[in-house]
Amino acid sequence: MRGRTWPTKAAAVLVAIVACGFTAPALAQKPVKIGVLTPLSPPGDASAGQFIVRGAKMAADDVNARGGVLGGRKIELVTEDDSGTPEKGVAGFRKLATLDQVVAVIGQFHSSVMGAVQELAEQFKIPVFATQASARSLTEKHLTYTFRTHVIDPDRVSLWNRWIKQHDFKRVALIAENTDYGVGLVEETKRLFKSMDVQADLKTVIFDRAVVDLTPQLLEIKNWKPDLVLNGGVGTPVYLVIKQAHDVGLFPAVPMLVSYDLPARPEFWKNLGDKGAYLTFIVYYHPTMKLTSRGEAFRAKYREQYKEDPVYGALNAYAQVALVADALNDAKSDTGEPLVKALLSNTFEGWNGTISFSHGEGPYWQQWTPPMLFLQYTKPEMPFGEAKIVFPPQFKTGDLLMAPKR
């Protein structure tokens, strides 16, 4: 430096100041993008996708209000519609990875879509989260960039098998759609009926997801004389099975269990009217549940904003965006590999407990499972919060009520 004159030094300092002035805020302000790839139009369960987007947006707002991530960078959500179809899911993921350059993708609802995009996640080294996709195979592949904070089919089936044994149901019919989820449920139920020694006959019927008239299949089930029907549809088919089972006199004379939390949604009674009474369904959240401080804050804000109780999809999406934000801070990086390391080596505050990911056996790979409850609506127009918890026994608030004979 000795040879330099003061004007040179001054110019160098000036350049450095100007450079810092331009680049440092530019870097600090460059948002960190998180993709929300979820069904927002048919044939996907678009209603579920809307709740997921709500939760994700509220999480991004909360993180940004707290100062963002990685020293002040804001979270920016990029939402893509996968329509519940693998081809649109793949196109959406490619766009998120290449054009938007997201650091992680959440919002996966349909197992068949998740199955298609998780290969791309490996290729682009972007963590992808199953928000409500539950097929066993998704985490059973032991992929580096696949994470799930949702129940898996063996757990779901295992729980309903315990319920079947407890109630001593003798003839169980499972009607499921021809998707990864539906077929997975059928296979898992057949497998676990044997291994759990369920003393009941099982009849399985798989229907084409696009079909709207299910009368012949439901008549076939009715004529088989089951004492329990398991409804393995997703989205519109759930309603079609309930409505048409009611019309042929199968339900509510024979109890029906819906395999996921669709009946918790506000539009349920509008679509089914009295036909929804006596329905039993699986949920992962109940308004009477005690949540973490993060979950309680979200629930209060959601109620204030939407004038209704949050549903599980919104809670889970909220928790996923929040945990990605936490992991980014832990990783001190917005790239895939450090982010995955941070996800595996830390614990995160979820909506109802502490979330951690480990390399468990089989489908319990990078998998965190929320609780499951069986709820029953015992009268028409019953609010979700008043539905009775009928299983498992430790959480029960009421017994399974059989419908009066028509």
Partner: protein
């Protein structure tokens, strides 16, 4: 399998087949007059169901569904007339060389447009109007009251349509246009106006099916897809341009699907209709009631 159960499956197939034949009739009628396939037929079915639902939750009480039905049909008829006037008429007056391609592109574009419009206006969720009637029994078949209403309405509409075509001046004009578009112009009939009416009537029939089935099959942006699919299968089975073909084809398809899904496998319900369709194309390419096109 006893006769009682068999009769249940058979009846359920006949009922749904007859309702689907309304859709097929709309497609075949438009084809007969305008010599074009309307690929957006399912979207007019969907719009019919949305209009019916909207009327029953805003202007009319749920028990007045029978007033909403003609209003939904009327609204879709007008939409069809406007669509034909603005988008399809240029096929016949604008000197377009590749008429078939033009019609295909326009109607597929309409299909995408109407579906997306439904998502924008009504959201992607499902809706359902209240039941039109209580569940009942039809012979041996326990059946939804809505489906009985749809069945009766389908029979009434098919009969009225048949009478209109056979007994009225307008029907004669339609038959004339179906036989020879140039020939009827020599009798002073404005064939372009006839096209507009035919398109409106055809899509109104689809709207009737959508409105009638709304409580059972729900209202959502893609609810017309499956009925279009069935409609096309039916017209090929029954014979393009034939009214009895639409009815017989519909019943045949409904029965084959119902029996196939019970006796073979329900996961392949759509396949059985296609097997029938392929068999017919091999044995009788014109369909059951179709006629060979006469060439001079």
């Amino acid at each position: 399998m006893d006769a009682y159960l068999f009769s249940q499956y058979l009846l359920s197939g006949i009922v749904i087949g007859l309702i689907y034949s309304l859709m097929a009739l709309g497609i075949t009628f438009i084809y007969s007059i305008m010599k074009m396939i309307n690929w957006a037929m399912g979207e007019f079915y969907m719009i019919g169901s949305y209009v019916q639902y909207a009327l029953l939750v805003t202007l009319l009480p749920p028990e007045r569904w029978y007033l909403a039905l003609p209003l939904a049909m009327g609204a879709v008829f007008l939409l069809g007339v406007v669509t034909q006037r603005l988008l399809l008429r240029p096929m016949y007056v604008g000197g377009i060389e590749r008429r078939d391609e033009y019609a295909t592109i326009i109607t597929i574009a309409l299909m995408v447009f109407f579906r997306n419009l439904a998502i924008v206006l009504g959201g992607p969720n499902q809706y359902a109007p209240k039941d039109y009637a209580r569940a009942t029994t039809l012979g041996t078949l326990p059946i939804s009251g809505n489906r009985v209403v749809a069945l009766v309405a389908a029979i009434v509409l098919l009969t009225l349509f048949s009478l209109m075509v056979k007994q009225t001046w307008l029907g004669r004009a339609f038959r004339g246009a179906a036989q020879n578009r140039v020939g009827i112009q020599t009798a002073g009939i404005d064939v372009l106006r006839l096209d507009m009416l035919a398109f409106g009537v055809g899509v109104a029939l689809a709207a009737a099916a959508g409105a009638l089935l709304a409580p059972d099959f729900l209202v959502y942006p893609e609810n017309g897809a499956i009925s279009t699919f069935k409609g096309f299968e039916i017209i090929v089975i029954g014979g393009l341009g034939s009214i009895p073909g639409s009815v017989v084809g519909g019943v045949l398809l409904g029965v084959i699907e119902a029996l196939g899904s019970v006796f073979i496998a329900s996961a392949y319900k759509d396949l059985y209709g296609f097997v029938l369709l392929i068999a017919l194309l091999v044995l009788r390419p014109t369909g059951l009631f179709g006629e060979r096109e006469r060439t001079v």
